[in-house]
């Protein structure tokens, strides 16, 4: 109340009545303003960049990108907003929310609880988010990879990713529309997307669905060619055996 700055809130929910209700509740809470609304995860991430909200009221169940996945992408941001999940009913997730001490509200949301949650909203750690996702029965895999760019957050659908190349500090994501830098480690990416990707080198993961062919040069060195990529990627001696095994060469 003493601070002159008003708390900017972004409402994210796919159901019009749910957004409407949150908006009218927020209007009754002093020191709070609605920065905007988003009807799905992708839109939410776009709005976060434009509107720079302080708090996200995030529905857990949404078509396409779920609220949990939206929250995981927030970790990429330099100053991510605080997150308060809203959920009508998620049998097991509710316990997890309580256990992870994340802000969560059960719909229909009560005004006092909304006010209290806004007062205490905080950021979520990656570990908390992973536990939440597991408890909610959502697949632990993300459907997109988020890359931070100057013009905002770029979401790359995981099906469009051709390879991940690890550098000293960053990881390069090669995808059908170019390359981007992300901070995720190869080890984590491999454990998350293990089935769809295969390790060809200490520093490289390739998408199996984009694999075109495996080549061998005169020196006995193996390379893979990916569809839509001009440059072949080198296969390490250690991984060559496994690769041949997997594709029965």
């Amino acid at each position: 109340m003493s601070s002159p700055a008003r708390l900017k809130v972004l409402i994210v929910d796919d159901e019009p009545p749910a957004r409407e209700r949150l908006r009218s509740l927020l209007a009754e809470i002093p020191g709070v303003e609605v920065a905007g609304e988003a009807v799905n995860g992708q839109e939410a991430l776009a709005h976060i960049h434009e509107l720079n909200p302080d708090v996200l009221l995030l529905d857990v169940r949404m078509p396409g990108m779920s609220g949990l996945e939206v929250a995981r992408h927030l970790n990429v941001l330099e100053e991510p907003p605080a997150v308060i999940f809203t959920t009508a009913y998620d049998e097991y997730a509710v316990e997890a929310f309580a256990a992870q001490a994340a802000g969560y509200l059960l719909k229909p949301v009560r005004r006092e609880q909304l006010a209290a949650a806004l007062a205490h909203a905080g950021r979520l750690t990656r570990a908390q988010l992973q536990k939440l996702a597991a408890a909610a029965g959502a697949t632990a895999r993300r459907s997109h990879i988020a890359a931070r760019r100057r013009e905002g957050l770029r979401l790359i659908p995981i099906e469009e990713v051709q390879y991940f190349l690890a550098d000293q500090k960053y990881t390069t994501v090669g995808h059908v529309n170019g390359e981007d830098l992300i901070e995720d480690s190869l080890r984590l990416l491999e454990s998350e997307f293990g089935a769809a990707f295969v390790r060809i080198h200490r520093n490289a993961l390739i998408a199996v669905k984009h694999l075109e062919r495996i080549e061998r040069n005169a020196a006995g060195q193996y390379f893979v060619r990916l569809r839509g990529c001009t440059e072949p990627l080198q296969v390490s001696r250690r991984m060559a055996g496994e690769l041949k095994e997997r594709f029965r060469i």
């Binding site: 749910a18 009807v39 719909k107």
Partner: protein, 359 residues
Amino acid sequence: MSRDGGDSRAFYLPDFCTPRTTLAIVLIVELTAFVLSLARQTASDFWGDLVRTSMFLLWIGLSGAALLCALRARLARLTEAAGSAAVLALIAALVAGISLCAWALGRSHLVIDAGGAPLFPREWRSFTLRNVWISLVVTGLALRYFYVAHEWRQNVELRAAARVHALQARIRPHFLFNSMNTIAALTRSNPPRAEAAVQDLADLFRATLSEKRNTITLAEELEVARTYQRMEQLRLGDRLQVEWKTDALPANALVPGLMIQPLLENAIYHGIEPRAAGGTVTISGEVSGGQVTIVVRNPIEANPSLATRDGNRLALANIRERLSLMYGERALIKSGRFDDEFIVTLRFPLIEKPAAQNA
């Protein structure tokens, strides 16, 4: 005249006025006669002895059945113990009376003149007393048998009813809380619509919680499904389109309650909600060859990584079980994905509700 199915506290004795029970009585009587004749060990004339004993016992058995048939309503008002004691006393008195009659008949001129006197008892006291004792033992055994049979039947009926009820009383909590949230929003912005939504929700719960009506008409079931659609429409808006092609269905066909609504619920939950753009659920129905066919189709998420919802086997298994409880082998439900659609087909015999019947 039908069986006492409904009242769970019904007296355990069967209705002795039915042919079935009469046949059971005759069987019990014949077995008893056989045992008695064997036990008597009159090697000279076993068959004659059996016939005589049977005649005598049938006399007792059938008049006993008639007596119980007439007095059943009164006996049913007593407690189980008192009722059983009363039946034992009644049968013992009946046996004593009939034994005395038989003894008296043996002394009548009619029998003596015909030379049949040796067939009848000579001494009334021990004859009557023995018969009463035997009747008490046999009636006791019969009562025990009826009691156990009644318990067993009641158990089976209760279990079937409980199963049907458990299968029916199932509403997705997800739907309930989302509806509550929608109503909470409408209460502020659009009170008349909120009121209509509360009424719809009440109707849906009535349909789900109703214990009495295991079967309803197709028109009623379609109305429940439409009510459900209205609730979901509030929440999903334009994302949900439902196409009804059900005009060909007979309104008065009897169906187990909550057959179509859960299929619509499934179609919306798995087919529409996970899609940002929404889609169309089609419900079509037709009758041919005495079979009602209902088909529910919904689009499926093309990208499997986004289709995170659990399978819908539970709801389908539930409907399958209720269909088979009602129609046995004559109903079927099948489902599967065809191209980019999920299709559920429901087929069951057409049974029309009699016009006069009041449910």
